[in-house]
């Protein structure tokens, strides 16, 4: 038996079935991401001064990934329009471009952005010892200016063995540029270009350390929400890419030859999902990378 209303509209809804189906699914997706975004707002509003980090993500890379997602949204809608005009060749190329955009986005996230974070360390200083590390933190000036204090020193950990060896009494950390020149007003706000840790090594005694963590989800509420939301978003990108690959393979050409409008409708609903994924990223990008 053939599935009804894949092309023709159902009299009571005025829509073909997959269309109403995808919109109901997207409604549930809005609630899913809405829950996570509201958690983000909650955590951010309740963060103590200095606890919510700024400028830790690579803005040019994030901007590039945003542009890639936007371009993929354009190519998928062009793929759909090409099918509507019965130009399968153009559809094939647009779909390939969409798939490539999705793969590049995931590749950048999984092989560049995320691993870099796991190798970067932040050392939270005990409140009583903050004054001792004033040369790296610059909190006296910040307090005069009414800016949130710095409670963490971050960079590249030169002696990772100190994490496990209790006999080593201090951490040696190659400082991020901010901590080399903490009183420079240019460092009050995040920089656009990513600058790697410097060769300037600071020694921080373990007894002054509240905790030390790499920039993973365990580091802070900021990174916990960053990895949760970008991870779930990445899973959505992966799902979209897999669906698009199926629609790009020869198996879909058979459907096109049998019933081109059916394939066009399939591309339309999966495209709606893809645009939603793009839409979520439009909010993720400024909230995590820029603000």
């Amino acid at each position: 038996m053939e599935i009804p209303y894949t092309i023709s509209t159902r009299p009571d809804t005025g829509l073909w079935n997959a269309k109403i189906g995808i919109w109901l699914f997207l409604a549930s997706e809005v609630m899913l991401f809405g829950g996570l975004f509201s958690a983000y707002v909650f955590l951010r509003l309740d963060a103590q001064p200095g606890e919510w980090p700024h400028g830790l993500l690579n803005v040019p890379v994030g901007t590039m990934n945003t542009a890639i997602l936007i371009m993929s949204s354009v190519t998928v809608v062009l793929a759909w329009a090409a099918l509507k005009m019965r130009r399968y060749g153009a559809y094939w190329w647009y779909m390939l471009a969409t798939i490539m955009c999705g793969i590049i986005f995931l590749f950048v996230k999984l092989y560049y952005e995320w691993p870099q974070k796991f190798e970067h360390y932040g050392i939270f200083i005990k409140p009583a010892a903050l004054e001792k590390y004033e040369q790296y933190l610059g909190n006296n000036r910040r307090s005069e200016k009414g800016i949130e204090p710095r409670i963490e020193i971050s960079g590249h950990l030169h002696n990772p063995e100190a994490l496990k060896d209790a006999n080593i009494k201090e951490y040696e950390i190659g400082l991020d540029p901010v901590y080399v020149d903490p009183n420079n007003p240019a460092n009050d706000r995040p920089h656009f270009l990513y600058v790697p840790p410097t060769d300037h090594v600071a020694k921080i005694e373990k007894e002054d350390v509240e905790r030390i963590d790499s920039f993973g989800p365990w580091h802070s509420a900021y990174f916990a929400s960053y990895f949760t939301i970008t991870g779930l978003h990445g899973a959505h990108v992966l799902a979209g890419v897999l669906v698009f690959i199926y629609m790009w393979l020869p198996v879909s050409k058979k459907l096109y030859q049998r019933n081109p409008e059916h394939l066009a409708n399939r591309v339309e609903v999966s495209g709606l999902f893809w645009h939603f994924v793009d839409l979520v990223w439009i909010f993720v990008f400024p909230l995590f990378y820029l603000l």
Partner: protein, 128 residues
């Protein structure tokens, strides 16, 4: 968008339809370019100190924390504009069937309620 007429029956009618789709394509490309432009705008605006700017324009004295909130507001307004473009043009919400709008009104209501509950929890004077 309406389904295309059957090609076999009337090629001329189909040609007109294809021409209509072609017109939409130009719109999609324009919106794509606009979204890319506004991505650059979002990034650029995030490096503007709106606290200092508003303090100068409105002759008030905003604290760095209030300035931060001003930047968040501006960035979210641009993001909403971009999201609106994606929803209206790419997702065809500018002209859709009534049932889909109904579904979205319900969704909007519940999302609003969700954020409102978050706000209540944060504002709870008993815990704080």
């Amino acid at each position: 968008m309406n389904n295309p007429p059957d090609v076999a029956q009337d090629p001329k009618e189909y040609e007109e339809y294809a021409h209509g789709v072609q017109k939409h394509v130009r719109g999609y490309l324009m919106v794509g370019a606009l979204l890319l432009t506004f991505t650059a705008v979002t990034v650029a605006l995030s490096y503007v100190d709106f606290g200092a700017l508003f303090s100068r324009i409105f002759r008030v004295n905003l604290s760095p924390a209030q300035g931060g909130k001003a930047n968040i507001t501006v960035a979210l307004l641009v993001a909403m504009f971009k999201a609106g473009l994606v929803a209206a043009v790419f997702m065809h919400l500018a002209a859709e069937k009534r049932l889909i709008y109904r579904v979205l009104i319900f969704t909007g209501f519940f999302v609003f309620a969700l954020f409102w509950l978050t706000y209540l929890a944060w504002y709870n004077p008993i815990v704080r």
